[in-house]
């Protein structure tokens, strides 16, 4: 694994920029500009900018990826004309939405109407500062990273409901109600599945969880938890078959009916940001993060930035799974959704927690061998 980290990249860029800038100024300013504090401050800003750019770029590519995959599932091609194989189509769409006027309905509440998309977007973006994508490529290793990420992830229903309520539209309101009910119902099985992972890994720190998977990936002992987590994530992302909050046939566009132009683009982007976060969490918790099994030849795992490359490959494969489900299944009813959440997923998640506990107790896995000592 190479020793280049996200922070070292940001620090180098800041040092080079300030070093060049300092030559233009006389001695006292020159000395201040190349002092450690200033470079660190600029490095932090650049660090955040890199994270923002990377997450937004990946989100837009994710939309392209979904359109192309969905096309193949439906025996067509998806976007073809802007850029190579339609690669730039979503940038063109974004530009179009950006140029559009944003219209607020006369009866809508201004504060909630403007605040909701922004807050939804921001809470989705902040999570990217917490998720590690390779050794050293994260915003900082906190002891409770996973918990913090999930807490921020679960802010969404609040802002969705805020926007739906402020829109003053019956379809928005029904969509917001459904969204809140659905997200709160599926937080429980998701957190229980995460508890199973945490029990096995012995830590809430995502770096530690990935390191604990160096011998075996957690999806093997925690297959039940993986199923529960995937299903819960589908519901959290409001993707088909759980897209009741924006069921086009019944509610016009669900809770973002009244939003147009860039505000709609914010909601759309935030949806895909959350889908990206969901895929990354699946990779981190169950699929070994950036690590690969030892029987993979070393040539494939030792090139520079190999960890990031394999991490992104895994993430896109997991998202491909979500697209596959979207292409296959019809939307389910509200009562079916809630029954599935409370009566199937919660017991399954509890069962997987018990399984994880048993695995830890036994310290040995059938077929795989003994678990190394617990981290934490």
């Amino acid at each position: 694994m190479s020793s280049v980290t996200l922070y070292s990249v940001a620090y180098s860029i800041a040092a080079i920029l300030l070093g060049g800038l300092a030559h233009l100024f006389p001695a006292p300013v020159h000395g201040w500009l190349i002092s450690g504090d200033v470079v660190t401050a600029l490095a932090t800003v650049i660090f955040a900018a890199i994270l923002l750019a990377a997450s937004m770029l990946n989100t837009i590519l994710l939309i392209w990826y979904e359109r192309k995959l969905l096309g193949r599932f439906m025996d067509r091609r998806g976007a073809m004309h802007v850029g190579y194989a339609g690669l730039l189509q979503n940038f063109a769409d974004g530009l179009k939405l950006f140029r559009k006027d944003t219209v607020r309905p006369g009866q809508a509440d201004p504060l909630g109407f403007w605040l909701s998309p922004t807050a939804y977007m921001v809470t989705s973006l902040v999570i990217f500062g917490l998720l590690p994508i390779s050794t050293g490529w994260n915003g900082g290793s906190l002891p409770l990273t996973l918990l913090l990420a999930l807490v921020i992830f679960s802010f969404a229903p609040l802002f969705i409901f805020l926007g739906a309520w402020a829109s003053n539209n019956k379809y928005s309101l029904i969509g917001g109600m459904r969204s809140a009910a659905q997200m709160i119902a599926y937080e429980v099985p998701i957190l229980l599945a995460v508890v199973a992972v945490v029990v096995l890994a012995g830590s809430f720190d995502l770096n530690t969880i990935v390191l604990e998977q160096r011998n075996y990936w957690f999806w093997a002992p925690l297959f039940l938890a993986l199923i529960v987590f995937l299903t819960g994530m589908l519901a959290e992302m409001e993707r088909i078959p759980f897209d009741l909050p924006e069921a086009e046939a019944e509610l016009v566009e669900g809770w973002n009916t009244e939003y147009g132009g860039m505000l709609f683009a914010f909601f759309m982007l935030a949806d895909y940001l959350r889908a990206l976060v969901g895929s990354i969490l699946v990779v981190l918790l169950f699929l070994g993060g950036w690590t690969l099994p030892s029987y993979i030849p070393a040539a494939l795992t030792s090139f520079p930035l190999a960890g990031i490359v394999w991490f992104m490959v895994k993430t896109y494969l997991v998202f491909g799974l979500f697209v596959w489900v979207r292409a296959s299944l019809p939307r389910i009813r509200t009562d079916q959704l809630l029954r599935l959440g409370w009566m199937r997923m919660v017991p399954l998640a509890l069962l997987s927690v018990i399984l994880a506990a048993l695995v830890v107790l036994a310290r040995c896995l059938p077929l795989i061998g003994c678990v190394p000592s617990m981290g934490g």
Binding site: D75, W324, V325, L329
Partner: protein, 257 residues
């Protein structure tokens, strides 16, 4: 989740998820290399190269996507053989054909060729059916998208370019009655209005003076000009324009003894 499918048979809930997933995966595998859609502006079904490479290779019959020869698309006009007979404009039910002057022809009788407004044209093919010289025909070209409304109007020169592109043309025409290749006059009906002579593309109609009749007492004479058309058969191209323009229907196809 009552455990029954649409057909009413008992099914395991497990299959509700796995069977659609398998169907979608099968479709994905089938269209992974090449979906059945055609990337239209770059690939065309009627392109023989495309058919040889893709349509035949994928097991589809060769005829798929072929445009039939009698397709009624953009008109092709052979300006050189056009005799300015006006028949296309007369036969057009949408009144989208206008005869415009083209270079060539003498100053007194300028040569006129059809100009078609595709904003109005319904592609019925009456004009190419009516053309006596077969110089106006319909091709298999079907792409008519333009940026401006004015570009929908195809000038004779533009249609001559279509003619020169050697596309398959649709030559179906209604022949005039067999053995009736001369234009006869029902003299008592004629009012001497000069319409036939004026519109004749070859100037083969001459209006000759006829003796003025004096009405008998008590009989009402028609109001007319005392002239009658005489048709020079050697110059006539049998376009039938005179029959069409005659306001009194006194000209007709026939055979002179």
């Amino acid at each position: 989740m009552d455990g029954t499918s649409a057909s009413g048979t008992e099914e395991k809930p497990f299959l509700w998820v796995t069977r659609p997933l398998a169907t979608a995966a099968k479709q994905f595998a089938k269209s992974l290399w090449r979906p059945s859609t055609v990337v239209y502006p770059f690939e065309r079904l009627e392109d023989p190269k495309f058919r040889a490479k893709v349509a035949v290779a994928s097991g589809k019959p060769i005829g798929v996507g072929e445009i039939w020869d009698n397709y009624r698309g953009v008109h092709a006009l052979n300006i050189n053989t056009c005799i300015s007979c006006n028949l296309c404009a007369f036969s057009c039910p949408d009144v989208c054909i206008e005869m415009v002057t083209v270079p060539g022809g003498d100053p007194k009788h300028p040569k006129k060729c059809p100009q078609i407004d595709y904003g109005k044209c319904s592609f019925c093919g009456f004009c190419s059916d009516a053309c006596p010289e077969g110089c106006l025909s319909m091709t298999t070209r079907y792409e008519l998208s333009v940026h401006k409304r004015e570009e929908m109007v195809y000038s004779p020169a533009k249609m001559f370019d279509v003619y020169k592109s050697k596309l398959p043309m649709n030559p179906i025409r209604v022949e005039r009655p067999e053995n009736e290749d001369q234009i006869l006059l029902d003299a008592p009906l004629c009012i001497g209005c000069n319409a036939c002579s004026r519109d004749c593309p070859t100037n083969c109609i001459t209006m000759l003076d006829i003796p003025k009749l004096t009405p008998k007492p008590g009989e009402k004479m028609p109001k007319r000009i005392w002239k009658e058309p005489v048709i020079n058969d050697s110059d006539c191209v049998r376009c039938g324009t005179c029959i069409s323009v005659c306001p009194k229907d006194c000209l007709f196809w026939g055979t002179r003894q």
